[in-house]
Amino acid sequence: MLVTFYLNNTQVSYDVRPDEYLSHTLRSHGIKSVKVGCNESTCGSCTLLVDDKPVMSCSVLTASIEGKHVTTVEGIQEEAAKIAYHFAEEGADQCGFCNAGYALVVYALKREIKNPTEEQIIDYIVGNLCRCSGLQSQLNAIKAYLKEE
């Protein structure tokens, strides 16, 4: 079936199977920034924004996003660079596999909640697993980014 949606503000139409998931569709169309760490909505590495809300794209049927706006990290390159700066400042970046997903979820958090408490931040990002970092450094980096004007 043909599904038409906006990928980083550009209209695209992909021919997909009805039971195909968004992470798969995008990766098979060369958008490899979408990382798949579990394929069962338990790790957050495939995080994307659908109409500005973070979703785990491995559990979103591509057929369900007809007409919607999908943002991958390609759509927020500048913000991703800023987040990367804070990760580097805190020594929070390691293997990087979780990072594109983090960039999207942190960016969405900044837009959704103004001046979040630490608890709100943690609740928002807790589904994004990271096995490499000490997590505290990530949290500090995220806080520093959220403080940016």
């Binding site: 490899k32 990290v73 390691q94 990087g96 596999f97 997590l135 505290q136 990530q138």
Partner: protein, 775 residues
């Protein structure tokens, strides 16, 4: 040649990782990002039985399915035993695995392989394979494995490469014994003896990128494999031998790796990709599912460790006896070497003993195989030793910190264990040229408020804070075995290509090698163009394991940079018609008295105008010693006495890893290790049902630490300089993981009086202990 750390401009200075931004921005950089678009997709049929013999296997229906390109069973693959461990040559692990075999030895073991046009067809084809199994009685309790009537490896054609105690007919993969002095005699003389047994579990690596590989033939008909591996050069060698190909026909490329922690030292899907591409001529790929990573790759070796320690009333430790039993699961990867580390990188901490003994067996069971995992035996040994030290301190009526200070390793001291025990072979004698452990203990105690808080602070009637500590050591590569190398090439304009075999798996080795070269050549990191781990294009490196990269590969890079500097000065002297000893180089300009030439001009001249030639250098390095990093760790844990639930409020570490080449990345290594160690200490648990089915095979069933559980980490480094390390550095990749099981165990005991002897330390176990105490 000791370097003045204060003069360093790049090394030991804050430097952002060179690829962090690109990765955050989502660049295609990992193995599966680089698979050919039309790759055949490989899927593996896995055993539903813990132990079985394949009586018959019929793949005809699967082969007929439209879109299936290749189906392989044990009848179709070379019958050559090998070890997937991914180690140097000859491997200290038994060759006890076939690519596919007529026996399956754990639920998840490989039965057959399908390659098809896409995942859907491949999965459909798996269902069409008809297998008749003769189900055998599995061994699911490692304490009953030895001489069990079920023999897990009854087959012919398996072997050890040199004596490692391999006795497959007794279910023994490896065995080891050593003794210094007479332990029984010293124990008999001791005023106090403690005798404690601890169990540790099969922790899962749970790296976020699942095991991935892909293959294609290049224009020269050579096999080119991308793999998320820690050991590309070992992979090439082992694959060539096992598939009967010349090494020259294979190229392994390690792109960005999404976490390894030891799990990616070994072979996972690479042989299947190679066979598929060689037999079909088409590109292929195999990406493990999360369930496969949990259930069909590797775990940490579960162990039972019995510690007997004897001491005098004044707190002098006389003797340590450590008996261990390790469960290697279905295959013996890293069986001997992980086992030996339980002794060799743990027991030397208390080097003043008159006698020390270590030994036991590594047995086969029908569980998921165990393999290399960060800490590599040291974390298991540390849990048993450091918990027992606390028990001993209590018996002696001493502060456990004081007991440790009195008996632990100091600078310029040694332990006879270093010479006796290596990695599967004899070890190497060494003196601790750098050991700031006494400082680490002292400073950590200040940071946690030990004097004031230990052993416990009552918060309320139901809440208590307990304080615990432990010390640890690791190594820095394997002396005389691990080699790293580095090539530096001068480009026009004065930038340098640096190619290294060193394997960046997320720990940041590309960044810190660039820093080392930049420091020596007095340039900036962005002038260093680093490319790593490609068996065709980079010089050799043993790979990322045994905490070797900073020390071994870093030393190779430093050596190469020093040579490059000398070479450049010589070239400039010739150009200026001066003597090299009169030429100075500040990273940009060569000066001799009144004459000058810039690196920029010189580099352009050599390529286009005058005395045309390429300036390049290759150097390699192997260790003659393996200087251990040291750590003291403390935790503050708050326990709810009604529920047994607890939180780790603060985890303090002070680490001696010599010079921190990149202070932020070093902290990342320490803290990342601590968090993984806390997972193992507190809740990560591998569970099987009675038939050997793995129950904890996803992130819901196997919980890893998240932002919810990790509170405060306080990480400091001791001012230390290792004379044999690059700019004074030692390793830091593994040491962080070693302490949490013992520290948490000790803190929980101090809070509650409950001593948990088996990991993870769960609220249920604490509550059960509290109930027993009340009786």
């Amino acid at each position: 040649m000791a370097v003045d750390k204060k003069k360093l401009k790049v090394v030991n200075n804050k430097t952002h990782s060179i690829d962090g931004q690109g990765l955050m921005q989502g660049r295609s950089y990992y193995t599966d990002d680089l698979a050919e678009q039309n790759s055949l997709v490989i899927k593996i049929l896995r055993s539903p039985h813990a132990f079985a013999h394949i009586k018959s296997i019929d793949v005809s229906e699967a082969q007929k399915l439209n879109g299936v390109a290749l189906v392989l069973t044990y009848k179709d693959v070379p019958h050559v035993s090998f070890s997937r461990a991914g180690q140097g040559y000859p491997e200290p692990s038994p060759h006890d695995k076939f690519i596919l075999d007529e026996y399956v030895r754990y639920v998840g073991d490989e039965v057959a392989m399908v390659a098809a046009v896409d995942e859907r067809v491949a999965e459909e084809a798996l269902k069409l394979i008809k297998v008749e199994y003769e189900v055998l009685e599995p061994v699911l309790d490692f304490e009953t494995a030895y001489e069990n009537k079920s023999i897990i490896h009854p087959e012919d054609g398996i072997k050890e490469m040199f004596p490692i105690g391999f006795e497959p007919k007794k279910n023994v993969a490896a065995a080891y014994e050593m003794e210094v002095g007479d332990v029984e005699k010293e124990l008999a003389k001791s005023d106090v003896i403690v005798d404690e047994t601890f169990y540790s579990q099969a922790q899962a690596h749970a790296m976020l990128e699942t095991h991935s590989s892909n293959a294609r033939l290049d224009a020269h008909n050579r096999l080119v494999i991308y793999s998320s591996t820690q050991t590309p050069f070992h992979m090439r060698r082992i694959m060539a031998t096992t598939l009967g190909l010349p090494v020259s026909k294979i190229r392994f490329i390690k792109p960005r790796v999404g976490g390894g922690f030891g799990g990616k030292q070994a072979f996972h899907g690479e042989m299947f990709c190679a066979l598929t591409t060689l037999r079909t001529g088409k590109p292929s790929k195999l990406v493990y599912t999360r369930e496969e990573v949990f259930g069909a790759s590797y775990t940490r070796h579960p162990m039972r460790i019995r510690m007997r320690i004897g001491a005098m009333k004044d707190g002098r430790i006389n003797a340590i006896d450590c008996r261990s039993l390790s469960d290697t699961g279905a295959y013996g990867e890293h069986s001997l070497t992980v086992f030996m580390i339980v002794g060799s990188k743990v027991l030397p901490l208390y080097n003043k003993v008159d006698a020390v003994k270590f030994g036991g067996q590594v047995v086969y069971t029908n569980h998921v195989p165990a393999g290399a995992y960060r800490g590599y035996g040291a974390i298991q040994g540390n849990y048993a030793l450091e918990a027992t030290i606390d028990i001993l301190a209590e018996k002696l009526g001493m502060d456990p910190k004081v007991l440790r200070e009195k008996n632990s390793m100091k600078e310029k001291e040694t332990s006879p264990i270093f010479e006796i025990m290596g990695e599967g072979t004899k070890g190497t004698a060494m003196i601790m040229e750098s050991c700031k452990l006494p400082y680490c203990i002292k400073r950590g105690a200040e940071l946690i408020g030990w004097e004031k808080n230990w052993p416990r602070v009552k918060v309320s009637d139901t809440k208590v804070r307990g304080y615990g500590m432990a010390i640890a050591m690791q190594g820095s590569g394997i002396p005389f075995m691990d080699m790293g190398s580095c090539s530096i090439k001068l480009n026009d304009g004065g930038s340098y290509n640096v190619t290294v075999g060193a394997t960046d798996i997320g720990q940041g080795s590309d960044t810190l090698i660039a820093q080392i070269v930049a420091e020596e050549l007095q340039t900036s990191v962005d002038n260093i163009l680093i490319y790593s781990s490609d068996t065709d294009l980079t010089p050799f490196d043993c790979g990322a394991y045994a905490s070797s990269t900073t020390y071994i590969s870093g030393n190779a890079a430093w050596k190469a940079a020093i040579k490059m500097r000398e070479r450049l000065i010589k070239e400039a002297a010739e150009y200026l018609s001066e003597k090299p000893e009169n030429v100075e180089f500040d990273g940009k300009i060569f000066t001799s008295k009144d004459k000058q030439v810039s690196l920029y001009d010189l580099s352009v001249q050599f390529l286009y105008n005058k005395n045309l030639h390429q300036v390049s250098i290759t150097e390699s390095y192997y260790g003659h010693v393996s200087p251990p990093p040291f750590m003291a760790a403390y935790a503050e844990v708050e326990v709810d006495l009604e529920t047994g639930e607890y939180e780790v409020l603060n985890y303090v570490t002070v680490t001696d890893c010599g010079t921190t080449i990149n202070p932020m990345l070093a902290r990342g290594q320490v803290e990342g290790g601590i968090v993984q160690g806390l997972g193992m200490a507190c809740f990560e648990d591998v569970k099987y049902d009675k038939k050997g089915n793995l129950l904890s095979n996803n992130f819901l069933g196997y919980h890893i630490p998240t932002h919810k559980e990790i509170h405060k980490l306080t990480s400091e480094f001791a001012d230390s300089y290792e004379p044999t390390g690059p700019f004074g550095a030692k390793s830091v990749g593994e040491i962080g993981i070693d302490t949490p099981p013992a520290v948490i165990c000790n803190a929980i005991y101090n809070a509650t009086g409950v001593r948990v002897h088996n990991l993870p330390i769960t609220p249920e176990k604490i509550l059960k202990g509290l109930k027993e105490l009340k009786k």
